[in-house]
């Protein structure tokens, strides 16, 4: 594999890693607050449909993005209601919302556009356009680093940079602010937060809302940045892969970045059977490459890379008085 091919694959990896990273950070807020969220997938799907549909109707990707976030937040609110207010089973709630999303997105898209559950292809201002980083042409001439800067880092849509910027932002919020301290505490020992006079319910709802917001970005990126429109089941398990990345990353923001980049890299490899064959020196069937990210997820979950330490109160509803 020469350097140019490597850059090409890495560029694709960064594109593929972005929705995973956004969804992974989304899950991080929720799970750090003690709410499991299997429903990242459904929220992304909902946001993907809503943003593509609204972008197609209004011609503005920004209004589309807003609609995507709203769609995702509605699902987050239902999940919060089920798992915080009514102390229901968080796993089941997430699974249920994924099904609702899988069905309702097609229902709405079909009703609006009559194109077999797809939205019309987006172009121009209805889609996020590539952003060119400063001094691209000047730096391109620098050996090794130059092409990397120009071909891999530059030329992505704005949401890619937003996702990357959210990593240090999340770190700062989680470990350097009072809100972050309380958020982490409510996932470890909600009773202590309650004793300190802070509302567990409000903290958890805030966390779930942030999850909704970030899943909204992830879904909008899928249909208006990565691809040009919504298609049924277009998230294809990315919400679950993001969850696996979250476990791999041990619920930490910087590790989430590396984990999702790794998963993105494997997804990018799946698109290049020729490169895989050239490196391995034997042909690999395409279904094997398709299954690769999922197999890798299982291997990661098998704990071959250290034991995960999840938030202690995760998945348990908080009961104030018995």
């Amino acid at each position: 594999m020469d350097y140019a091919t490597f850059l090409q694959i890495f560029d694709t990896a960064l594109r593929f890693a972005t929705p995973l990273l956004l969804a992974c950070l989304a899950g991080l807020y929720s799970e750090r607050a003690g709410i499991f969220d299997i429903g990242l997938e459904g929220k992304m799907l909902m946001a993907a449909m809503a943003s593509a549909a609204v972008a197609a109707l209004t011609g503005s990707v920004w209004i589309g993005l807003l609609a995507g976030i709203v769609g995702s937040l509605v699902f987050a609110a239902v999940h919060g209601l089920a798992s915080i207010t009514f102390r229901g089973n968080q796993l089941i709630s997430g699974v249920a919302l994924n099904f609702v999303a899988a069905g309702i997105t097609v229902l709405v898209a079909q009703t609006l556009f009559q194109q077999g559950g797809r939205t019309p292809p987006l172009s121009g201002a209805a889609r996020f356009q590539p952003v060119h980083l400063p001094f691209v042409e000047a730096i391109r001439e620098v050996p090794v680093i130059g092409p990397f800067y120009a071909d891999v880092l530059s030329g992505h849509t704005i949401l890619v940079y937003v996702a990357l910027a959210l990593v240090p932002a999340t770190w700062w919020l989680l470990y350097r602010t009072r809100f972050g301290l309380r958020l982490r505490a409510v996932g470890e020992n909600p009773a202590s937060v309650d004793t300190a006079g802070v509302s567990v319910i409000r903290l958890r709802f805030t966390a779930v809302a942030i999850t909704g917001l970030l899943c909204g970005l992830a879904g909008a990126y899928m249909s208006t940045g990565l691809q040009a429109g919504f298609g049924r089941e277009m998230t294809a398990g990315r919400g679950y892969i993001a969850l696996a990345a979250l476990i791999f990353a041990n619920w930490k923001p910087w590790a989430a970045l590396w984990a999702t980049l790794l998963f993105g890299f494997f997804q990018a490899l799946a698109l290049r059977p020729d490169v895989v064959q050239a490196v391995l020196r034997f042909p690999v069937p395409v279904p094997v490459l398709d299954a690769l990210p999922y197999v890798l997820t299982v291997i990661v979950l098998a704990g071959l890379i250290g034991k995960p330490s999840p938030p202690r109160a995760g998945g348990e509803p908080y009961v104030k008085e018995r």
Binding site: F86, G88, A102, G103, G117, P287, D290
Partner: protein, 370 residues
Amino acid sequence: MDKLPRWADLALVPLISLLLAAAVSAVVLLAIGQSPSQALWVMVEGALLSPYGWGYTLYYATSFMFTGLAVVVAFHGGLFNIGGEGQAQLGGLGVALVCLSLPWPHWTLALPAAILGAALFGAAWAAIPAWLQARRGSHIVITTIMFNYIAAALMIYVLVEVLKPAGQMDPASARFPPGTNLPTLHEIPGLSLIFTKQVPANVSLFVALAACFGVWVLMWRTRLGYEIRAFGKQPAAARYAGISAFKVTMIAMLISGALSGMMAINNVMGESERLLQNASEGAGFIGIAVALMGRNHPVGVFLAALLFGFLYQGGAELGLWTSIPIELRTVVQGLVILFTGALDQMVRMLLVRLIRTSRSRTPAQAQGGM
């Protein structure tokens, strides 16, 4: 909080959850500009008002009984098996290999062998997530989901590269030999008086009913079933009582996977009579809704499977006769899971309040108002 009377908990809670799911579905239909009452009528007419419709409803219900029971067994062991879909796909592979391996003389010989093959392959697909859960503590929900995706890729590979006969275009296996074809309800003496036309429902229905009974015996009449339930309710206490967590997790998941796999005798052997891509068509996922709706009991699973059979056949009719997309089924399925599985506490709170107010009122009226 007050406890609900047993009858209310068993019957009223699922019923109200179902009504809520139906109500929200109606709102969804209204929102996309369709008429809920007309939709319901098309569904009832297409699924329940003719023997032909029932032939399809029972066919779907057969698959859902298997996958529903699969979720039930795992649930009792405290395991949430979302991998029914992949396990059902692999079960189909097992059935195909059995049916294609020998020139079976008669279906009565082929069926037991196919059941064994389906159960074996389904169980094998559940074995790895089970082992990872039992030994490595990997979250079974995520591993089983991953195994669904891996199963889909594996099936494409097997169908295209291995089982597809030379010269055939579509990714499917060869037709099974005639000796493996299961009699449909139309071909069974006695029942053929009702089902006068060819229907997909077949003898697998009776295997599914037997499986319902078998799971009931297993869970409530055997030591193993007790161990599974005890472990699911209180893992720590069960461990203290000498129940092996590893054993229970493995066995519960293997049985669960075997049941999911067994649905393949219905769709692969009984209906399509060859292995197609994505043969299980989401039935593995419906099992979750069926188990929750059926309150994790075989009798409940039977009733819930009929209900979802109706929903599936009715939904297909909607796709045929109206402009409502067939995905409405997925929405209803999700809503049923949501209301019966996650918002059940809300329904219960509501009922407790209702019963309390009605009780406090009745004695007061009887004694002339106090």
